[in-house]
């Protein structure tokens, strides 16, 4: 009898929360998995012909696939290189020698957050139009023309670097917070290492996770970027996907599925490699 009275209330109170939790998780799983599953079904289930992986085969034969993907990858590599070359010395300097510059860098790296990509591209477009109007006779004009070379539009690298700044800054800053840069460099210097060597050999190896994290965020940003590229008239991967969708719906969905799988694989690799730091990274804003 005593057992019954003691066990009953606990059983009731413990079972109820588990029920709502299960319901919430089930709904979430349905909402997030159905579009993925449906996309796969959409690409392999050809009406009237049954199941076929044809859409995926077509991807590699499609016109412009290779060139646009290569362009996106090149842009991504260039952006990663530029943004890291700019940010790594800056954030290390903030920790080591110039903490008073922190507010300046804080503001500079947050500015892109208040300018949506579409507004940024409107501004860039205006700057580019200055060329023919005001600068036609100056060397600046040649520069403006050069950065818009469709084979490798440097102007996109500039725009993407600006867009990546806030995320890269936060990722690197979080990484550096976990490492005592000052002690590391002082320890290295007391072992007779020069300044640059101390940075390269003592600090950077400890930043590996943060660097990977920042690189991945930038990679994901550039591979998926559509707004700036489309409105400036270039055709990297994301723009190409939209352009082919008009004529080949299945193909564009197949490419979307594929690009999503690649992104997931990269992120999972990074999560297991970088010790789970990726999910703490700053959520990136949509373009």
């Amino acid at each position: 009898m005593a057992r019954l009275t003691t066990l009953l209330p606990r059983g009731v109170s413990a079972r109820r929360p588990r029920l709502w939790r299960g319901a919430v998780l089930a709904c979430a799983a349905a909402y997030f998995l159905v579009p993925l599953a449906a996309s796969v079904v959409f690409t392999v289930d050809v009406p009237g012909k049954g199941l076929s992986l044809d859409a995926y085969g077509q991807i590699f034969r499609a016109d412009g696939f290779t060139s646009s993907l290569l362009l996106s990858l090149e842009l991504a590599l260039a952006t990663i290189a530029v943004v890291l070359l700019l940010m790594v010395p800056a954030v290390v300097a903030l920790r080591l020698g110039a903490p008073r510059l922190r507010p300046v860098v804080d503001i500079v790296c947050s500015l892109p957050l208040v300018v949506p990509p579409i507004a940024l591209v409107a501004g860039i477009g205006t700057v580019l139009r200055w060329g023919p109007e005001h600068l036609a006779a100056t060397p600046f004009f040649q520069t403006l023309v050069a950065i818009q070379n469709p084979a490798f539009p440097v102007v996109l690298v500039l725009a993407y670097t600006v867009m990546a700044l806030p995320f890269v800054y936060r990722a690197l800053d979080a990484g550096l917070r976990a490492v005592d840069v000052r002690t590391l460099t002082e320890a290295a210097r007391s072992c007779g290492t020069s300044w640059p060597r101390a940075l390269v050999h003592a600090v950077l190896p400890n930043l590996r996770g943060a660097l990977l994290n920042a690189s991945f965020l930038t990679l994901a940003l550039v591979l998926g970027e559509f707004t700036v590229a489309q409105l400036l008239g270039f055709q990297p991967f994301a723009v190409w996907v939209v352009n082919v969708s008009g004529s080949q719906a299945q193909l564009s969905v197949a490419v979307s599925v594929l690009s999503l799988l690649i992104t997931w694989a990269l992120l999972l690799a990074l999560t297991s490699f970088g010790g789970g730091t990726s999910r703490r990274a700053a959520p990136r804003r949509k373009e």
Partner: protein
Amino acid sequence: MTSSTTTLTGPAAAAAVPVRRHRSAGWIAVAPLLAFVALSFGAPALAMLGGAFTARDPATGATSYTTANFAASLHGAYLTALLGSVKLSAVSAGIAAVLGLLLAQAVVTSRFRALREAVLTASGVLANFGGVPLAFAFVATLGNSGVLTRQLGLARHGWDLYSFWGLTLTYLYFLIPLMVLTVTPALDGLRSQWREAAQNNGATGAQYWRHVALPVLAPSLLGGLVLLFGSAFAAYATAAAMVGSSVPLVTLQIADAISGNVLLGQENVALALSLDMVAVACLVMAVYLPLQRRSARWLD
């Protein structure tokens, strides 16, 4: 750094040299970043600002300063688009905030460590999964010839993905995970002592949520809501790839105006619209940052 000056003269004098060198080295390390931002961000921003306030006479080619662009950006189709964007962002951010909170709470209170890790990792991916692939995934699922539309005959029930609610449903796909990422640290920061202290003071479960948990979470929830709003407000690729222009959105209007799809000579109105967006984004930040600070003080 300053403490070195309190040591004896000899070592202090020796230390002062590298200290000064660090300081200038600090400037040198930061300078390229500042120069780059001034060029790549400052120039377009100034161009935007300048262009938004100038008008050009099509006949003479002369430019003059004016606020007419702003007036235009707040009228007619442009105003509809701006309001449409605000409405879509507010509705989808509101729904995503509630659903994201539920999901985060389900995950945080779960005893399964693996479930938590899986959901947070997936959220990290999905919060970044906007743009074109998202649009096509939903087109394939719920578009006119989408798998679910055909299987369930949704078209007969009046379903249309290329509408306000269709777009909302799509935006939730990256907004909910974004909310989960934003609010999970806050839920982790809710101490079990608070629940127990509340119960100990005679509060029921509902009273605990009403009087303790929600007020304590409020800054984080509002901060998350504002962040989601900003994220939805700035989104362009998803809408452009999916609905074309069947739902009026400010980003779509800017794109049309820039590319001269509608009318020629609307570039400067596009710049004024862009500034409108920047103003909204600044407002978002002005609300978000103080909330974030207060939440950090309560929950760290």
